[in-house]
Symmetry: C2
Subunit: 404 residues, 2 copies
């Protein structure tokens, strides 16, 4: 009889957001009269902007004509998009990144999940706690996480770096040396940002210890403070030790459009092996390029008009962040995030567990958030609300919470 | 120092089609006056059909309005598409497949590459020889293939099933028992089809021996003969032993649009473990759904108008298949495929190797094909031409070859 990858069986329960979706579906089915406000999953609500819509229509028209039709895209992405990204997201900020180090994909979640394939099976990973579940789960599936201890919520072979109120939700350097370090700033779920000085310390550590940093910068567009780096390549030496993952989901609202990219610099080597070449090989073998029309939509985000429209989206959501942050604070909640990030990280009240608070908010205020403990043991007692709702919903949610 | 997945280093050279692309690029750069005709990679040339274009525009417009905007898609695909697929591609053919066994993805290549993750690291795979490179390469990357013998072109731990003129390019049952059997019919690269009786024999074997068949049916739309099954689920017992992979690339021309799906029946179990649930978990953890607008385009392929338009595309390419097949035959070539498949599989002349014939055709006729040996040792001495060019190019290519 064939055998399965039994690492899958080690995963406890289902993927966090699937669990939430099921709970909410059950609630709405039982309470069809209640209008639920969803500030849980980090999904955007505002439509695509006009320049993006125009680019999509134009690209669709190209696909209707044999003379301008596009078949298979280049595995690594169209040059028009890779060059635009390298210039606008990196070189214009003083980061030395070339178009041939940019790998266009169908999203940061896929890249976050797939990137671990480049590393040895016995690599040790370090993650922040709390953390976006994909980093750990994809390593569990690959057999790197060891065994799960349901009592503590920890995997035996994962190095956890607590992010707490005490360290401002920016992890301290790990006590044990990992091979791979996952960092996400601005952070999901805590909304914390990292300063350039702090991030340089991580880059220095990785170079000294021979680690690779996988830097998830999906929320880069939300940075509002000057001392917060937009890319890890603003740090000296990062080309030798860091991979950066970016998304079009949260800035341009592409959650349902699917576009992202990963930067693997040519200087990132393991002996003679180039991680850039390995990632290119993975793209060539297991991926077939992002759709032409969607790469055109991505490029439209970088025109003057496109940039302005996207800045408008970010401002829209950041107004929600302020509504939620200020509103909760006024009610006496302890609140974090929301300044360089669309996530608000709040402490539950009355010593409630994260999931108890989830049920409390869902049942009493019909507001959906995400339990902090779903992101890791140090998330227990916290709760995440997102700024991705509408102005109306964000305000209404706060009014409902205020009435509890 | 961190360590890489050194299975990647075992891969000889680059992915076949990347190598061809580089060779062609070098030739066209050196010979800018020569108009190269590409009948190599299986990429389509005809534009998307009118019903698909209309669906894309309509879906783009939905994304421009907050009331109809779509964010994250369901991980496994929208119900409107999954239900349409289950009804039209399976139940209407008498195959008992439910919408909840359909997993929509961004293409058959990704699914072909990723599906091996569900199986144990020490699983033995069996592949046809010659074979589409993704099946083997993705298993090499996962460490299942053993070591590569450059002299024979074989991997030490892969079971090869020769497809030769003697067996009509339909493999015989393997002599050693594999865990996973990759089959592709209508076949890429040989263009061979399998009869229902032959396929039932494989299903019976898999059930008896406890194997899983991964059935790649990407070219299903090209079947023209009655005794050729469109789905493996036409065979009795296939729900217990087979996964089927489908594509919108070759029927609807979606190579640059990216849409495919995989069927994992609920009856496919390994002890208590459901492979359907494992694949759902993989989608939930490492994938974020196919774009809404593209799923709408996929659904448009199943309306009456959509079906007719796609049948028109298939007929267009099959006319090319006939042009190439008949033309080569008339010149005295030994030719296979082309009847239930858009691929023509020809024997090289004068005992030329596949790559010598590639160079000969590129340099002398400026026609690009794919060397049979690129698909495996038993492809040596063969060459693949595709019917995916235009009528004009296909005819012109034949005229050039005739003049050699």
């Amino acid at each position: 009889m064939f055998k399965i990858n039994d690492n899958y069986q080690k995963l406890p329960g289902s993927y966090l957001f699937s669990t939430i979706a099921k709970k909410v579906a059950a609630f709405t089915e039982a309470n069809p009269d209640k209008a639920v406000i969803r500030l849980g999953i980090g999904d955007v609500t505002q439509p695509l902007t006009a320049p993006v819509i125009s680019a999509l229509h134009a690209a669709v028209d190209e696909m209707a004509d044999g003379a301008t039709f596009h078949g298979y895209a280049p595995d690594l992405g169209y040059a028009f998009l890779r060059e635009t990204i390298a210039e606008n997201d990196f070189r214009s900020r003083g980061c030395d990144i070339g178009a041939d180090e940019i790998f266009v994909s169908d999203g940061a979640k896929c890249d976050s999940g797939n990137i671990q394939e480049l590393f040895a099976a016995d690599s040790r990973i370090a993650v922040c706690d709390p953390v976006y579940p994909v980093y750990v789960d994809s390593n569990v599936m690959a057999g790197r996480a060891g065994t799960y201890d349901a009592a503590t919520g920890y995997w035996s072979n994962v190095i956890y770096m607590p992010c707490t109120e005490a360290n401002g939700f920016v992890a301290d350097l790990p006590k044990e040396r990992p091979d791979i370090i996952y960092l996400c700033f601005p952070n999901n779920p805590t909304g914390a940002a990292i300063t350039k000085t702090q991030l340089q310390m991580w880059v220095d550590y990785a170079r000294k210890e021979g680690c690779v940093i996988i830097y998830d910068a999906a929320y880069e567009a939300y940075i509002s403070e000057d001392n917060v780096p937009h890319s890890i390549y603003e740090c000296e030496g990062a080309r030798e030790c860091a991979i950066e993952i970016r998304s079009f989901s949260k800035n341009a609202g592409f959650t349902g459009v699917r576009l992202g990219y990963t930067v693997v610099p040519k200087d990132l080597m393991c002996g003679e092996a180039s991680l850039r070449d390995m990632w290119a090989r993975r793209h060539g073998t297991k991926y077939n390029g992002a759709p032409y029309i969607i790469q055109r939509a991505g490029a439209a985000c970088y025109t003057e008009e496109g940039r302005a429209s996207i800045m408008g989206l970010v401002e829209y959501y950041m107004e929600n962040a302020k509504t939620i942050y200020d509103g909760l604070k006024k009610m006496g909640y302890t609140v974090y995030g929301g300044v360089n990030s669309p996530y608000i990280w709040l402490k539950t009240i009355d010593g409630m567990s994260s999931w108890d608070f989830f049920d409390y908010l869902l049942e009493r205020a019909n507001v959906v958030g995400t339990p902090g403990s779903g992101f890791g043991p140090n998330g227990e007692g916290f709760f995440r609300l997102t700024a991705f709702g509408t102005h109306e919903n964000s305000k209404a949610a706060l009014e409902r919470i205020a009435k509890l």
